[in-house]
Amino acid sequence: MNIGEILKNLWNDSGYNLFGVGDGWKSLLMIIIALFFLYLGIKKKFEPLLLVGIAFGMLLTNLPGGEMYHPEMWTGADAVKGVNYLDVLQHGGLLDILYIGVKTGVYPCLIFMGVGAMTDFGPMLSRPSSLILGAAAQGGIYLVFILAAATGAFTGGEAASISIIAGADGPTAIFLTKTLAPQLLAPIAVAAYSYMALIPLLQPPFMKMLTTKKERMAVMTATRTVSKKEKIIFPILVTIVVSLLLPSVAPLLGCLMFGNLLKECGVTERLSDTAQNALMNIVTLFLGISVGATAVGATFLTTKTLLIIVLGLAGFVLATICGLLIGKLLYVISKGKINPLIGSAGVSAVPMAARVSNTVGLQYNKSNYLLMHAMGPNVAGVIGSAVAAGFLLAVFGA
């Protein structure tokens, strides 16, 4: 037995050695980025429930020799015709197997079920005009779509996937991207969740810039009380109306509304509790780690990723501006009864965007609590971004 040879083989097979082979340096750089995201998630508390998982998945997938994730199984030449799931189960690594839930769209839908079970559509039902603000903020999606196409760097499907970042809705972004541009899943998911966490920093300057002090101080009165029956009818109504028009978004919206029905119907408390807590937590774990796994150095470290980061930021800003502008319009139409600050909450990101509207409103009027009023456009934004995704899927998903 030659001990020297054994040690040499051990060194050759080790990840430390593989860092110096081929694109190994990119893996090293990705590990540093993963550590930075872990810092943002743990220390700065930027969407920690997802960012910690994404960052750790990123770390695992970039450890050379680990063989936990194989991008060629999902986006390689053979995968274009269709993923061979049997091959994934037989020869895939741990993260490949977990990624099946992303690729099939199961995780985003289950997350939406939990979101639905946690969402109270009451504020929106009591003020239906909130839906217009939810629609307005989706303007950011389409403006970024035009910008992405204008760069000339992206295909139609990629531009559509990048534009959905402006919807500020992680599950919808993942659901759309896994179909239209799976190769961009990691940068899009990271951008979407990072900017969602940055909403308290991103939105207030534009809210102050685009509204007058008088508008910001507008006090909104209480709206009508919504009956239990209305809350039960709503999810059923939305599922039928929207899914018939845009069948491509039926899984996502159907799960959102199913979760909400579990919450509102009053006879499925155990199921609602499971959807909100146990199921949501389990799926969040799998989703985070498997999305992070797609951030392989060779595909992540490109100029496209940088462009996605810039376009995503533009998307959040444009969505906020669109919501605020329609908010101002409603302020005029309602003769000052609607505070335009709630318009920025139309960008989804429940409930953070609504909290930002409330915080900014309180800065100018200490007794003006806008939270419940802002929750209307906020939850309407979730439906709006799902509709926008449904349209893009209908156009490019064929």
């Binding site: 196409a149 204008a150 139609g156 009818i233």
Partner: protein, 141 residues
């Protein structure tokens, strides 16, 4: 066929700015149409519920009629409930803690049965709670 439609069907093709602009206009229009339709439906449902409450307040006699109709509808449910109550009564009572089950007595008084069980336990030198009696029957000589 226009370039717009061709691009719209192929996700791998690059999009021109004009095509993207057209798609964006259609897309945002659809979002607005769907959400405005939902807004109208939600408003309609809200008005129906508010209206029915208002009508009941204005015409209490209608409320009474609705209540009596509901009562008629619920009649069968009441019968069902009564049946359930009867079936609950018929179910055997829960056994006492520590018991081995029920003892069947045939032509035997409880007092006599208790005495017999005590004698058997004593003669077997076994505590009574470790014995199980299934039935005690008086045999006519």
């Amino acid at each position: 066929m226009s370039g717009f439609i061709l691009c719209a069907l192929d996700k791998e093709a690059k999009l021109g700015v004009v095509d993207a602009l057209l798609l964006a206009i259609i897309g945002i229009a659809i979002v607005f149409v769907v959400l405005i339709a939902l807004m109208l439906l939600v408003s309609l449902v809200g008005k129906i519920f508010d209206g029915s409450e208002k009508l009941q307040a204005e015409h209490p006699e209608w409320g009474e009629k609705i209540a009596s109709f509901k009562a008629k509808l619920m009649f069968w449910k009441k019968e069902e409930q009564e049946e359930e109550e009867v079936s609950v009564e018929e179910t055997p009572k829960e056994l006492a803690k520590g018991t081995c089950g029920e003892l069947t007595l045939v032509n035997c008084e409880e007092r006599d049965a208790a005495m017999i069980m005590a004698i058997v336990a004593d003669s077997l030198n076994t505590p009574l709670n470790e014995l199980r009696f299934k039935s005690i029957k008086r045999v006519e000589g």
